[in-house]
């Protein structure tokens, strides 16, 4: 038992967990005919449930899962995978029908129009009644979280943002607040709103399909499931005192020591590569970083337009294409910075704390 716990504790380390989840997402999409089926769901979801139930016998696991503010995330742990599975199952079914020349599931009934009263109105009534019962039951069973009265002098350890912002807080490990807390959230909002104007693929409008828009769906799933939901879960369950990582069965030890000595790119370049001191002039010191960042945003769009994104460039035109690639590069910068941190302890690519300009 202890060995299993140890293995799970190791596997849930951020670098391994995020990598494994990304692999699972892509492999399951590649073999979606086998993965998103009723059989898999009948095994997977009960297995998840049993796993949770057994784990509750572990004291540390029990403590973190039953923390009042974490209850909704435990629900989300089941809801999000379930609905991902459901939508992908529908998509696989529809794709199969299209291949066989049969009409879509939705299309079979499109012509059928039903009266809103009673068909829809009663569905809504039932949903409302069930939800009310759920909400009242939940409220009676579990008191809402309330800690000690606010004290500006005593910072609790760990201090966490509201759970739905924990993805952003996890991002703060890799980026400075002006990026993780201001620029990226802004870009997420703008990027989401831009989706309908960038995605000009006319197919897949109003029905589940994977094959006809696999690129769009994979990008969205990666962003939503890995870079948002998974980071929320990671921040909720696996980040303990001092924002250190703790496995699900690990005791939250305030004194756990973790070497967090990170190195700037300018250090790598001037000190370790060239063997000299860091130049005093800020612009010279950070010139490498500026080149890297500028190169990152300028070179790939041009290269991609000629190679694998040629199709996009021709279909979208330059304006749409460049906006799309810019948003994608911003999105990709998070996993890239993560990997750089895990592999090289890289702190800043550009580090100018004098002007609060760190990337």
């Amino acid at each position: 038992m202890e060995t299993i716990k140890d293995i799970i504790n190791t596997l849930t380390a951020p670098e391994i967990l995020i990598t494994l989840a990304a692999i699972l997402l892509f492999v399951s999409a590649r073999y979606r005919h086998l993965f998103y089926t009723n059989k898999v769901a009948l095994i997977l979801f009960p297995a998840m449930f049993v796993f949770m139930a057994i784990s509750m016998f572990d004291e540390d696991f029990y403590l973190i899962v039953t923390k009042p503010d974490n209850v909704p995330i435990v629900g989300m742990l089941f809801l999000i995978p379930f609905f991902t599975w459901l939508s992908m199952r529908e998509a696989v079914r529809n794709d199969k029908r299209t291949e066989e020349g049969a009409p879509l599931i939705e299309k079979e009934e499109t012509a059928d129009k039903v009266l809103t009263w009673p068909d829809l109105v009663y569905t809504e009534l039932i949903a409302i009644v069930l939800l009310t019962v759920l909400l009242v039951g939940w409220s009676i069973l579990i008191p809402a979280p309330l800690e000690e009265s606010a004290n500006p002098a005593a910072t609790p350890n760990p201090s966490k943002a509201p759970w739905y912002f924990l993805g952003l807080q996890e991002m703060l490990v890799y980026f400075d607040p002006w990026l993780a807390g201001v620029v990226f959230p802004g870009l997420i909002i703008v990027g989401l709103m831009a989706i309908p104007y960038i995605d000009t693929n006319p197919k897949g409008n109003g029905y589940y399909t994977f094959k006809e828009r696999s690129w769009e769906i994979m990008t969205f799933l990666f962003g939503f499931l890995i870079l948002w939901v998974l980071l929320v879960i990671l921040g909720t369950f696996l980040r303990g005192p001092n924002w250190n990582f703790f496995g699900p069965y690990e005791y939250w030890d305030t004194h756990k020591l973790e070497a967090l000595v990170n190195v700037d790119l300018s250090d790598y370049f001037w000190v370790r590569l060239l063997g000299m001191g860091r130049p005093d002039n800020i612009l010279v010191r950070e010139s490498v970083g500026f080149l890297v960042v500028l190169g990152y945003f300028l070179v790939p769009p041009m290269l991609l337009a000629k190679t694998i994104f040629k199709r996009f460039y021709e279909n979208l035109g330059p304006a749409r294409y460049h906006i799309m690639v810019f948003l994608l590069l911003c999105m990709a910068s998070l996993p890239i910075k993560m990997v750089l941190r895990w592999l090289f302890n890289l702190k800043y690519i550009i580090g100018i704390p004098e002007y609060f300009f760190n990337i």
């Binding site: 939705e106 079979e108 499109t110 129009k113 009676i140 809402a144 952003l168 607040p177 807390g181 709103m193």
Partner: protein, 271 residues
């Protein structure tokens, strides 16, 4: 004696119901009456201002549970629940440092039906999840594509408003959880480029030689908190935003959102 018997037989539930339905009051309120025929079922949808949110007829495929998941409707219902319970909570809660925390405890210990705050809190969490799932479903069915581009944008703003509503509400219990979550959250505003005093570019904005334009008492965070720290003014500001400001904006945009669903081709389905 026989008259009394007649009277009693007239008082049977069925006959009573009939009498009520024939009364002038009932017919003035429910013009159409009980929707028993298809014609009346259509008329009831047209005649009722709330039901009028829906069309008279809908695609059968569009209202299949495995297609729509009902998440948009659930989100709206949760918004109504939160408005109602929030209104009730406002009768007891005073947004000052002195009373806020005590009032929250009283809401559980002293106020009758001590689960009002629980419903409000859990409902808010549930609403965040249901909004995410609604967006997820709309994406997976490609329902943001023309002609629904604009409504997707409105939806994204509503998602942000939901998060902001939840965030502003987080401070109100004035406990450690609230205080530090908002401290961490609001400190990000300190790093806003140019507008936060620890943001990149802020120290380039100066009056003359060395009077900084953006300082800890004139930056974005200061405007948000009404002070340099999470204190009395911050509590009041978050309270006003939570109870009046943001719900008004959200309600306005919801009206646009629902109206555009009808205008842009009804609930989604294959074209």
């Amino acid at each position: 004696m026989s008259q009394l018997k007649d009277l009693l037989s007239n008082l049977s539930p069925a006959k009573l119901g009939e009498a009520i339905q024939k009364s002038q009051i009932y017919r003035s309120v429910f013009r159409v009456g009980v929707p028993v025929s298809d014609r009346k079922r259509m008329l009831v949808m047209l005649g009722n201002v709330f039901l009028h949110l829906h069309p008279v007829k809908v695609r059968k495929s569009g209202i299949r549970l495995r297609f729509t998941w009902c998440m948009g409707g659930i989100t709206f219902f949760l918004f109504l629940v939160l408005t109602f319970t929030g209104l009730l909570l406002m009768f007891y809660y005073r947004p000052t440092i002195e009373y806020a925390y005590v009032d929250i405890i009283d809401l559980r210990e002293q106020v009758p039906l001590g689960i009002m705050r629980e419903i409000h809190r859990w409902g808010a969490h549930a609403m965040v999840i249901s909004v995410w799932l609604h967006m997820f479903r709309v994406f997976m069915t490609g329902s943001y594509k023309p002609p629904r581009e604009f409504n997707w944008g409105v939806g994204v703003i509503l998602l942000v408003l939901t998060l902001l509503l939840s965030f502003t509400g987080y401070l109100l219990p004035w406990d450690q959880l609230a205080m530090w979550a908002i401290t961490v959250g609001s400190n990000m505003a300190r790093a806003t480029p140019f507008a936060g005093y620890e943001g990149p570019g802020a120290n380039l904005l100066t009056l003359g030689e060395n009077i900084p334009l953006i300082s800890s008492t004139s930056d974005a965070r200061f405007a948000l908190l009404g002070g340099t720290r999470v204190g009395e003014m911050a509590l009041l500001r978050f309270y006003v935003l939570h109870c009046v400001g943001l719900p008004l904006v959200a309600g306005f945009l919801m009206a646009v959102h629902f109206w555009r669903i009808r205008r842009d081709g009804g609930i989604s389905g294959p074209l």
